[in-house]
């Protein structure tokens, strides 16, 4: 059964904003939650937490590797650190510190990165990280979460706090529609969510592409194509049962991600399919290229990652 989804909401929120707000909510209840940033508090929105709990907000300056090590040390002494930067620096610059000081040690650190994907927009290629899911997925002990809207992002922060161990959380800069119903929404770590039931093909989407995939599915429906849309908010561990069952039902798969098609959602879904339900799967994502500057919306369109691009690629695929 699919969950309640609203594609016509006027409300748009960037998940980085959800992150900052959720930190305050969880931080109110838990004294041991601390937040680290690397001179980007205004952009990552940890400044919202800083205003509420200045003594628990630690600005490490522009030194992401050191920040991850400090987070590990704090965690070894009972704190629950959320270490934040842009996805590029949290997972790229500090990859080895995350791997060795946080994941190998199984310390209770949450690496919470914002400004992921090409929807960073104007800052261009150096800041548009389309490799973070891939990098984090390869590290043992690491849970990888990419929420699709404000409701899910806030719930993911709570779930990450409650989970004991390293977690990577991916948030975006662009304000995106709030599609989940806050009254009935429930976040389950490691579980995929059927957002729309269908029988002709399965679209697996993650992050802001969940909304775009749902809109594309409505366009496909007009053409008589009944698409199932599954939200993979947890890329690792991925919901193998749901992925395999849906592929078995529809016999056709598509993945949509604002990330490289190498190592992210496409890879994660194909790994399950190859093992449990061999199926031809179309990859929609950033096709092994760097991004560039431009308004986020225009970039998503250019890279074929808006609903229209997704619709067109699926129509071509089904020909």
């Amino acid at each position: 059964m699919s969950v309640k989804v609203n594609l016509n909401s006027d409300k748009k929120v960037a998940t980085r904003e959800s992150y900052g707000n959720a930190l305050v909510e969880v931080g109110q209840e838990h004294e041991n939650l601390v937040v680290l940033d690397a001179d980007l508090a205004g952009a990552t929105k940890t400044e919202i937490f800083k205003k509420a709990f200045p003594e628990r907000h630690i600005d490490c300056g522009i030194a992401e590797g050191n920040m991850m090590g400090i987070a590990a040390g704090l965690a070894s002494c009972g704190k629950v650190p959320f270490a934040s930067s842009f996805a590029m620096f949290a997972t790229g610059r500090a990859f080895e510190q995350v791997r060795n000081s946080i994941a190998h040690t199984k310390l209770n650190v949450k690496v919470a990165a914002t400004h992921a994907g090409i929807s960073v927009g104007e800052d261009g290629a150096t800041h548009q990280c389309c490799e973070d899911l891939s990098l984090m997925r390869t590290i043992p002990n690491m849970v990888v979460i990419n929420p699709c809207d404000d409701v899910e992002a806030k719930a993911a922060v709570k779930a990450a706090y409650e989970y004991e161990g390293p977690v990577y959380l991916r948030f975006g800069r662009l304000a995106i529609p709030v599609i989940n119903d806050p009254e009935t929404y429930k976040f389950e770590l490691g579980k995929g969510v059927v957002m729309r039931e269908g029988k002709d093909l399965t679209i697996f989407a993650t992050g802001l592409e969940v909304y775009e995939a749902l809109v594309a599915a409505e366009k496909l429906a007009v053409d008589g194509i009944d698409a199932e849309v599954i939200n993979i908010h947890t890329l690792k561990p991925i919901d193998e049962e749901l992925v395999a069952a849906s592929l078995a039902k529809t016999g056709c798969g598509v993945t949509v991600e604002e990330h490289s098609i190498i190592g992210g959602l496409y890879s994660a879904v194909c790994e399950v399919a190859a093992k449990k339900q061999p199926t031809k799967i179309l990859a929609i994502g950033v096709e092994d290229v760097f991004g560039h500057s431009g308004p986020a919306k225009d970039l998503l369109k250019e890279f074929g990652l808006d609903s229209e691009g997704i619709y067109n690629k699926i129509k071509e695929f089904l020909k």
């Binding site: 300056g61 590797g65 400090i70 040390g73 704090l74 009972g78 510190q97 060795n100 000081s101 040690t105």
Partner: protein, 278 residues
């Protein structure tokens, strides 16, 4: 504990290093031997609430071996201090051993942080010291760095933060044995001058002879009495100290003695022991 007892412990620790590395047929004896007195002083004299029966005491002082390849000296010290039987030193680097090639906090009780990738340990020690400050706790944090290791930029990121936050509960000890894998640190990529670097990062700086317990005692006392800034103890040491043919030889950074060399090393250490017992 008097100086003679400390010297005897240090010599036992040196034997443990040689036995472990010989049994493993691999490992890092040079930089382990150079820091035997430093670890002896920390674990037998300086650090509080160190208890093999309660290794996770939240109020214990912490030690982070940032130069994680010197794992043999940490293991030999923990064994000497009663954390596990000395026989286990012979399992070093073997499959199934808790004595991993580089220290693993999830494997061996008494290891406060997993280390090995150079430059990363100090940041975690800084995090521990910060946690103590945030919680108004009295525990102190000690971290041993290699003088080659400080070529890593992350060390200076950590120092900048520690100085900025006035972490006077943090003591950095630099094992200044002058050698790294590729040769003399002066020739590879000189980190000198050392004092001025730490001073510039707002540290209190003390110079000592790494093998002199009186000097170490005075340095750690000064560190504890220094308020408002972290302390860096620059400990001039001899790489391979105690084993005749390993002393001041970069070739023994990461190489195990063969059976013949092992016998010579143990004889060298037995002679030191005999001289201490006179």
């Amino acid at each position: 504990m008097n100086k003679l007892e400390l010297q005897k412990h240090a010599n036992e620790i040196r034997k443990g290093i040689i036995q472990g590395v010989h049994a493993a047929k691999a490992g890092h004896p040079g930089g382990s031997l150079s820091s035997a007195e430093i670890l002896t002083y920390l674990y037998f004299e300086e650090m509080k609430n160190i208890d093999p029966a309660n290794p996770d005491n939240p109020d214990r002082d912490r030690f982070v071996l940032s130069k994680g390849h010197a794992a043999p000296v940490l293991y030999a010290t923990l064994a000497e201090r009663g954390f596990f039987p000395k026989e286990e030193l012979l399992t070093l680097r073997k499959i199934g051993s808790r004595l991993q090639g580089h220290p693993d906090m999830n494997e061996l009780p008494g290891v406060d942080m997993s280390t090995g990738s150079l430059g990363q340990g100090l940041s975690t020690a800084v995090g521990m010291a910060l946690a103590a400050k945030m919680d108004n706790k009295d525990y102190r944090v000690y971290s041993l760095l290699g003088d080659g290791e400080i070529q890593e930029g992350q060390i200076w990121e950590a120092c900048m933060f520690a100085g900025h936050r006035k972490l006077d509960n943090l003591v950095v000890i630099l094992d200044n044995n002058g050698l790294q894998i590729d040769g003399n640190i002066k020739d590879v990529c000189s980190p000198y001058p050392l004092d001025e670097k730490f001073l510039a990062f707002n540290f209190n700086v003390i110079r000592v002879d790494a093998h002199d317990f009186d000097a170490l005692a005075a340095a750690f006392k000064e560190a504890e009495e220094t308020k408002g800034m972290p302390t860096a103890i620059i400990a001039k040491s001899v790489k391979g100290k105690g084993v005749s043919y390993m002393e001041n030889n970069a070739g023994w950074h990461g190489k195990a003695p063969n059976d013949e060399e092992f016998e010579i090393a143990m004889k060298d250490l037995a002679e030191i022991e005999a001289s201490l017992c006179q």
